[in-house]
Amino acid sequence: MRPVVIAGVGMIPFERTEEGGLVEMLATAGLNALVDAGVDDRPVDAVYLGNMASGLFNHQEAVASALVDSLALMPAAAERVENGPASGGSAIKNGFLAVASGFSDIVLVVGGEKMREVIGPKATDIVATMTHPMAEYVYGVTLPAQAGMFARLYMTKYGITRHHLAQVAIKNQNNGLLNPYAHIQMKITEEGILTHPQAHINNPVVADPLYLYDCCPVSDGAAAVLLTTPEIAKALKKPQVIIAGVGQATDTHALQEREDPTDLKAVTLAAKKAFEMAGAQPKDIDVAELHDAFTILEIAESEHAGFFKKGEGAQALDAGVTQIGGKLPINPSGGLKARGHPVGATGVAQIVELVWQLRGTAGKRQVKEAQTGFSLNFGGFGNNVLAFVVRREA
């Protein structure tokens, strides 16, 4: 396989967009990546679009074809890659394979979703269509409900408290304040969301034991990366940030069928594969972007990916290890919690953040001397997970 360089990155701020449709959002992010890479005059061989549900959210299909048209990339190959909330990660994996295999030299990967076209409970329903239709969905099972059932067991087993979950929310919202692309720009306090006797009114139950501030917002957004060979990246005079490792693994569709429901097997396996391919270990990682769609997941994933022993993620969080400036900053971008989680965009946005960090251009949230980054994109409730190791080569 050929090495694959991320030569260009682009994003649009995540928010509730007022103007423009899904394709405009995707094209803006894509154009930003093309401009960043400086490939305006070179042909793009292929476009991979990560998007989960444009049909249900926006009543539009075949969006990848609309995107190449919008960006005048014809006759580039184009397709949409759908893998639930890991659609972005899957699109990157496909783009990676295209370049690594020698099939394509320049690939644009865009991830995006426009979820706020529908009211919150409808978005919840659309996302919930991922669950098993007869064994879960019919009961009103949602992604927060699955996370709630997981959280109850995980918290009980490892002594994690709502204080720990609040620390994740507070940290990531603080990081979001340093990220102009983050949807949520608000400092919260433990008093306001947890310890004040009336905090439950600000922070109501979503799916007990998870509350509003344990959940990511519903956002619109898009992000893009341009993948190419080291030779072309060199000619473009771009830093050599490579995708050093890719891992993917799946698990049972229905949560009830997992032998140990607190074991996120697909996370462990995807991370292991990505590390093996990169010839790296968790201790080599300088910065990580994890899939904190729910606060509990940041803690659980940090353990399953191998950064901390099972049951020690919460202590690491409490000790400040995962803060910007700590030994392993997690979600300096604000994560899904503050940056937002436009489902198809997330996996790509995570890689964009890592590239900014490894290039040293992450502004106020820059992790010092970051050379190697890790991202984890969690599809379904952990039934289809992607992990990436990216590295800045000298």
Partner: protein, 112 residues
């Protein structure tokens, strides 16, 4: 009657619900259809206040149970004060309204 059908692998005995075309453990393709039997033990649960569009209620308890014969399933728990490990009795009842018609599923009632 619980109304749901689970599948026991003829080769290795693994009990599965919902249906798979191949056994999750040994890839066997022949199964015995079984009904969940015995008391259901509550393995985990959540109390949902933010339900999808069309479900105008709060405090809906959803849980995963394991029956005495090994079947594990998600269901609607009709308990005001759910507790991990509590024993429940399963019934087949309306769990949601879809297109104006009731949809049926597993309802779980605390055992007295």
């Amino acid at each position: 009657m619980t109304g749901i059908t689970a599948y026991k692998c003829n080769k290795c005995g693994l009990v599965m619900y919902p249906k798979h075309f191949r056994c999750l453990k040994c890839k066997g393709r022949e199964f015995e259809e079984i009904e969940p039997a015995g008391d259901a033990k509550l393995l985990t649960y959540t109390v949902v206040d933010q339900l999808p569009w069309g479900m105008d209620e709060r405090g809906r308890v959803l849980g995963i149970v394991e029956f005495a014969n090994g079947v594990k399933a998600t269901g609607l728990v009709k308990a005001d004060d759910p507790k991990l490990g509590m024993k429940l009795k399963a019934e087949w009842g309306p769990v949601r309204v879809v297109g104006g018609e009731p949809a049926y599923g597993l309802t779980l009632i605390p055992k007295k």
